[in-house]
Symmetry: C2
Subunit: 310 residues, 2 copies
């Protein structure tokens, strides 16, 4: 799957992932009203609205990008019905040949991490059957529990040729509270990054490992340092756009081969129509606004990477 | 909800939570066969089997204990069908007046943590409706992202009079890898524990805060130290029984009022019938074996706490 990610990035020239994190407030009125008419103002109605919203965006951007990253919390907030919409979204993205990074940030003690790994990346054994479950291609994982919380995910990834992005330095303002604390003279996130490099050596593709890292766009100096510390890890970079990151800040997250990072934008793309810059598309054509936002992001990153080369 | 937890612990004399972490391999053959006959060897069949298994145990132990702790990973591994079984389990435990601690270990950046908080503890806003979703009473939360990953959970807890248990020191063998690292001369988990005490001050009950901590039974010295560091926090203690913790090791997790901790056992209770000690119950009467295991655990903890008083 890391090969496919690299190939698709080369082909699309877009080291970009679209975060499918639908809030009901992003969903255009016409879609909400239709779903509520059909299913009522219920969890089912909410789930239908976010699914229809996603489908519109996917149809408009799938040819431009290698991957999407649905944030499961946005579905889980609507319970079982929301998780059906998550499942539909993953399946539909696969139909469109998109790589799906499940942003699930799971992580627990060994046997429990195994169950999460099965649910998101593996196959459940039920009697004599082995059944794919949510079936994402990559999942994000929280490292707080240490190696034996991570290893079961790696084991399933090896079996299924899938991958992980392990939280190293997150994009939020208080990420430093624990992640930046100095441990033996260097920050905790550096130490976690070093472990990611170690874990990654277990499951290598060609140039890159199947085991990558999350490093937020909002801390460019950290990105630069972590790029060096984990040369074989793909870095998933959240925090572009709405959270403040810009293309020029992100060139050091990439290796000299122009690869090694994939930058996520969620709100900046899926709710683009709400920005002044894309207001001309109107609410009705929200997905066209998203397409334009993707094109602009490709241009922003591409020209930043081009400049950095010179 | 913290009041209810305290009242129920006093009434049952059982500072105990039963971990409803059903693996298919724990489910007696007669239940599995019946579910597979009805639904096939499918995710639906697996989900039905674990739900029927849970129901049997709940019916046999609900009068003895204050609370249960379903581990959502064990349901999530069977996808949407598994999560329906999770929902049924939560609802049924509420019917039996049990407090439900959702062991979900979620945690993300602010807006995403908000969505998780809504899904597990709060109410989703859909048009003009406000709808309870999974509706657990407490949830476990991962602190790696810092305050702004935790605050949205606290905000929902305040609104709903619900609570949290924040991971401080987990019970697994490699928990020390990051959690024990020294930060300014003390371990990271101590620092996290201090933050838990701070966060907890925002949402106090009478003697205890709604915001508690997870400290594993497998590290008794840590339990003793963290008891002092977070005097107002209820401590959820995983790792009793199958993971190695014993009653005598756990007395220092409690305050002098005999309260302040609640000890979880999962496999040791729900799969008790597989242990030599309870083999006489046979697979068919697995839930009676679970009842006996609960009674034995109450006795073990009770006598340890009694001895500690003398």
């Amino acid at each position: 799957m890391i090969h496919k990610l690299v190939e698709k990035i080369k082909k699309t020239k877009a080291p970009i992932v679209v975060g499918l994190d639908p809030m009901l407030s992003y969903v255009p009125k016409q879609i909400r009203q239709k779903s509520f008419r059909e299913f009522g103002e219920t969890l089912e109605g909410a789930a239908d609205a976010i699914w229809q919203f996603n489908k519109g965006i996917i149809d408009c951007v799938y040819d431009l990008i290698p991957a999407v990253k649905p944030q499961i919390a946005m579905y889980e907030q609507f319970g079982v019905e929301g998780l059906k919409a998550f499942q539909k979204t993953v399946d539909y993205c696969h139909e469109k040949d998109l790589i799906v990074i499940g942003d699930v940030k799971r992580g627990d003690i060994g046997s429990t991490s195994s169950a999460y790994a099965v649910g998101h990346l593996g196959k459940a054994e039920v009697g004599g059957s082995r059944i794919s479950v949510f079936d994402e291609d990559f999942a994000t994982v929280n490292p707080y529990l240490g190696t034996d919380g991570i290893q079961p995910f790696i084991d399933v990834c090896k079996e299924e040729k899938k991958g992980l992005f392990i939280l190293v330095k997150t994009s939020n303002p208080s990420s430093g509270e624990f992640q930046d604390r100095l441990v033996d003279g260097r920050s905790l996130y550096e130490y976690v990054g070093e472990k990611v490099a170690e874990w990654g050596a277990q499951h290598m593709g060609d140039a890159y490992s199947y085991i990558g890292a999350v490093v937020g766009a909002t801390y460019p100096q950290v990105g630069k340092a972590m790029r060096k510390a984990m040369p074989k890890a793909f870095i998933l970079v959240p925090g572009y756009g709405a959270q403040g990151g810009k293309g020029a800040d992100l060139v050091h997250y990439f290796n000299k081969d122009g690869l090694g990072a994939i930058v996520n934008s969620s709100r900046g793309i899926i709710a683009a129509y709400k920005q002044e810059q894309y207001a001309q598309f109107t609410e009705e054509n929200y997905a066209d606004a998203s397409r334009q936002a993707v094109l602009d992001m490709i241009e922003d990153l591409g020209s930043a990477l081009q400049k950095a080369k010179q």
